[in-house]
Amino acid sequence: MISAQDLSKHYGEFKAVDAISFDVPAGESFGLLGPNGAGKSTTMRMIGGVSQRTSGALTIMGLDPEEHGPEVRAHLGVVPQQDNLDEELRVRDNLLVYGRYFGLPMSYLKPKADELLEFAQLTDKASAKVDALSGGMKRRLTIARSLINEPKILLLDEPTTGLDPQARHILWDRLFRLKESGVTLILTTHYMDEAEQLCDRLVVVDKGRIMAEGSPAQLIREHSTREVLELRFGSERNTTVAGELHGIGDRLEPLPDRILIYAHDAEAALDEVVARGLRPITSLVRRSSLEDVFLRLTGRSLID
């Protein structure tokens, strides 16, 4: 449904997106994972046809979004990184007016708007002003708005950034339901748990390039171990202790604030650390996550 070949976007010398290629089949939930400034949002804007690519090819449902912007976007729902709700209109009017932009008739829009308010749990806020809504409510309204045209492809740019945990889970639930109904989801995120929860497949992006591609489980399997042991010895000692940990686990990753030991069995690794007479201030055994994949691929963590 979406096909990108050597897609690039340059701003002068700066390569925001540098020759990336990917294909997304219908109904898939596809993620772009990477730190801020990796080129995720720029890619999203090119898919929406509101940003012109420097080179490469891009088709959405067989059409070039630059040549056929309005037609492609008729089937697209977009949730931008920053809410751009119409502050001059009330909550329900935001949905109705947005629907009019698609040329949809009022007879369709009125019941649809009510249905979406229900979906976003905003029914009792229908006639409230937008700036009276909380951050989570605004986000839900933005998502509701993106569904007004019953899109086949939904673009979500950092959908849950800035939300509290409860609001995030409500959103994830809503997105999961959409996915179940066959909507293709394209989402960018720098949250590992979000990518793991929502994405069938993802690409790890850094500095405008694709570093790896696969399902979350596949990526973890290929680029990390099953478990991770996190040790803290205090910021002074982390680097000096790292030398003494040599040979434990498959791989060692000393970070400024902690040391990560990648191992199939992290409990066993911890036992060995203690057996060597080392006393970490804190220790944590956990499953490997996409964060570790990213760290492995780029040498940097996702959230700085």
């Binding site: 976007r73 008729a74 931008p80 502050e87 001059e88 009019r100 040329g103 019953e150 959409l178 066959g182």
Partner: protein, 277 residues
């Protein structure tokens, strides 16, 4: 959302129309949004824009006019100073409203309210947005012109029914400025650059034969003023106000028709720069 999507649903048809990337023939949705927004929050700004030329007319026309007495109108007949400057003020208010709407307003909605960002992620193309915004600016201009003409009537400054043609003429003047203003905004990146718009507008307002005849200037300056759009607007409305038509009237009108065509062309060519980066 209730039915599961199939591959069949993912097929879309490409349209063969021209300008399809820029225009989806739905500017009315932008207009409807503008009217709704005005109704629910912007009406105070609307009202203040109406009073500005009225206050000028009262202070300059009535106040200063008491000192000036009468002056020669376009057809050589003596008219009151208020009747002399009123059509000029109408032209100025058409210019100000149109320029404000097509420059500052567009700039703000573009860069701060992110309104167009939302619109352009729908089926709307940038040309729909531009046409819708220009139409709204003209509608507002028409309302102001009607109100101002009514005030002129109340003050006894209307001597002929032909003067009512000032209302459509003011809309033509506004159209010229609005189409050009939007094209110019596409080149603006910062607030400092936007200030240049005001820097050009104020002297044009003061020196375009608004408050006194062009003949006070030496020849060279006269030519310069005559090249500027506001002078043509002022003269056009002034001639209509006393029903004194000549070939000059047609030239003034033609000036604006050319300005509209060139302005719309510029705006269309710059749409991608204005709205899509």
């Amino acid at each position: 959302m209730t039915q599961h999507l199939t591959l069949e649903d993912y097929r879309i048809q490409a349209s063969e129309r021209r300008l399809t990337a820029l225009y989806s023939r739905n500017a009315r949705a932008v207009i409807a949004r503008g009217l709704l927004a005005t109704r629910s929050s912007n009406w105070m700004i609307m009202v203040s824009g109406f009073f500005e030329p009225v206050l000028y007319l009262l202070s300059m026309g009535v106040g200063l006019g008491a000192l000036v007495g009468t002056v020669a109108g376009p057809d050589g007949q003596e008219i009151s100073y208020a009747a002399y400057i009123a059509p000029a003020l109408l032209a100025v208010s058409a210019m100000n409203g149109a320029v404000y709407d097509s420059t500052w307003n567009v700039f703000f909605k573009m860069n701060f309210a992110k309104l167009y960002q939302g619109m352009l992620y729908t089926s709307l193309g940038p040309l729909d947005v531009a046409i819708g915004e220009i139409f709204l600016a003209l509608l507002r201009g028409a309302l102001y012109a009607t109100g101002f003409t009514a005030v002129m009537g109340l003050m006894g400054l209307l001597t002929t029914p032909v003067a009512l043609l000032m209302i459509p003429a003011a809309v033509v003047v506004a159209f010229g400025f609005a189409s050009f203003g939007m094209g110019i905004t596409s080149f603006m990146k910062t607030f400092q650059q936007m200030e240049w718009v005001n820097f050009v507008m104020l002297p044009m307002f003061l020196f375009s034969a608004t408050f006194y005849p062009l003949s006070v200037y030496p020849q060279g300056i006269q030519w310069f003023i005559q090249a500027l759009p506001l002078w043509h607007g002022v003269e056009l409305l002034r001639q209509i106000s006393v029903a004194s038509f000549s070939t000059a009237t047609l030239i003034h009108l033609a000036y604006f028709l050319v300005m509209i065509v060139v302005g719309m062309l510029l705006t269309t060519l710059r749409l991608r720069k204005l709205f899509l980066k």
